[in-house]
């Protein structure tokens, strides 16, 4: 019984906070605006604290893998080592210090850029796989459109003024500005409707992402 009461209390608090923040977007009263800003600041602070909790959890997961020498423990060891080194150096020299920026510039940025480059290869392979695995009209249309847009966007192979280059470029613009933009707007409207109902369910306490 106590558990149910506590659960209802959390739902009521979440709903009340949500209603005030939501009203702040529609109603221009100072009182509501101030409360909204206060809650938003609290949320930002809590999110920062949650990042620390999340990082602790991350280290905890990898420490367990390392201590039990589970499969891939060497990567866990590397992660913990990199985490501790970065943390200590950033605490000593500051997050905007030369050492921290060096780590970002020469370690994190190249690795993330490498993953981005891997994405282009991945998409090419996935495109071939799409043809073999899901050979329906929509998939073929999707790939054909992607091919036309790529050719129309890329550097001209047959001269910049040739009829094929100009034609492909115009076709690409027509697809991007008419079909693609129209379709994207349609999807955006659907997503907005879905996001609204998801938010309202949380406000009503029907969905309780904070547990029950």
């Amino acid at each position: 019984m106590r558990l149910v009461r506590t659960s209802a209390l959390w739902a009521a608090v979440a709903a009340a906070v949500g209603v005030f923040v939501l009203l702040g977007y529609f109603v221009d009263f100072d009182f509501i605006q101030n409360i909204r800003l206060l809650f938003m600041r609290w949320a930002a602070l809590l999110a920062a604290a949650a990042l620390l909790v999340g990082l602790t959890n991350l280290v905890q997961v990898h420490w367990r893998k390392l201590s039990q020498t589970e499969e891939g423990w060497i990567y866990s060891a590397l992660l913990i080592l990199a985490f501790l080194v970065t943390l200590v150096l950033s605490l000593i020299f500051g997050p905007d210090g030369d050492v921290s920026l060096f780590i970002f510039k020469y370690f994190q940025f190249p690795i993330e850029a490498g993953l981005m480059a891997l994405l282009s290869v991945t998409l090419l392979v996935a495109g071939f796989r799409l043809v073999t695995r899901r050979r329906d009209a929509f998939s073929l249309l999707f790939l054909a459109t992607a091919l036309v847009v790529m050719i129309g966007t890329g550097p001209a192979l047959l001269g910049t003024q040739g009829p094929i280059t100009v034609g492909m470029s115009e076709l690409r613009n027509w697809i991007a500005q008419v079909w693609s933009a129209g379709g994207a707007r349609g999807i955006a409207i659907g997503v907005a409707l879905g996001a609204t109902t998801t938010g309202l369910r949380v406000l009503l306490g029907a969905d309780r992402p904070y547990g029950s």
Binding site: T122, G190, V191, G211
Partner: protein
């Protein structure tokens, strides 16, 4: 209060009224939804995972709790309540990963309460809901370890993703898992369409709760969305016709 603010507020109340109204009549007039092959396949894939003693992995994406990008992750958490109940018979609990600390905490809370409600509180493991990496690509870089080393056979993506969506789905395919994914970003949806076996397009990601049986209000939400969508389509058509005739005159 400006006119636009009033319109927004009225639309919100209309939405709320439609949802509650649909929920009230939902039992007497049950809704029939179109079949979404991805959700049907998901149910079977979860059953297979439970029977084989393998894990279900839910990825909540790389978005933050604050802001509109959290919406698909909240839809994923609603689906997680059902997934946790479905996997409560298994000896391997579902694992949830996020690219945001607060989202990882919410995932742990959802897992804890769902297993507790399903009478399998002992299945809850605090490390089952975890932060993989605080930046989009560091999050994706951590995914193969989870997918390959933790016997994951169902890989569900429900959250905000940027370009990393393509890699997030592809890693699941390479781990030979059942991959289903959806997001709110239009460009990322295209990436998921190419890389995943079961893409969720448009707002389908928000329908996961209704299709997995998370409650009457989830079904009512879909009905409300359909009514508002039809109203928007009618308004757009009226606007197009009015603008065309205005030009002609």
């Amino acid at each position: 209060m400006t006119a636009i603010d009033l319109q927004g507020l009225l639309l919100l109340f209309a939405f709320l009224g439609l949802m509650l109204g649909s929920a009230a009549i939902g039992r007497r007039f049950p809704a029939t939804f179109r079949q979404i092959a991805a959700f049907e396949a998901l149910g079977k894939a979860i059953e297979r995972a439970v029977e084989a003693g393998e894990r279900v992995h839910l990825s909540l994406g790389t978005g933050s709790v604050i802001g509109a990008e959290s919406a698909p992750a909240f839809a994923g958490l609603a689906a997680l309540t059902r997934i946790a109940r479905a996997t409560s018979m298994s000896d391997r609990p579902a694992v949830v990963t996020a690219g945001d600390g607060a989202m990882a905490i919410l995932a742990r809370d959802t897992l804890r309460s769902s297993y507790s409600e399903a009478g399998a509180a002992d299945l809850y493991d605090p490390t089952s809901g975890r932060l993989l990496g605080p930046t989009p690509f560091s999050y994706v870089a951590g995914l193969p370890t989870v997918l390959n080393n933790e016997s994951v056979s169902v890989h569900m993506l429900s959250g905000f993703y940027g370009f990393e969506a393509g890699l997030a789905a592809e890693f699941g395919e390479r781990a030979r898992a059942f991959v289903i994914g959806g997001t709110n970003e239009v460009q990322s949806q295209a990436l998921i369409y190419v890389t995943s076996q079961n893409p969720l397009l448009g707002e389908e990601v928000f329908a996961s709760g209704a299709y997995l049986g998370a409650g009457e209000l989830h079904k009512a939400s879909l009905r409300a969305q359909d009514v508002i969508r039809i109203a928007i389509i009618v308004l757009i058509l009226v606007g197009v016709i009015a603008a065309t005739f205005e030009d002609l005159i």
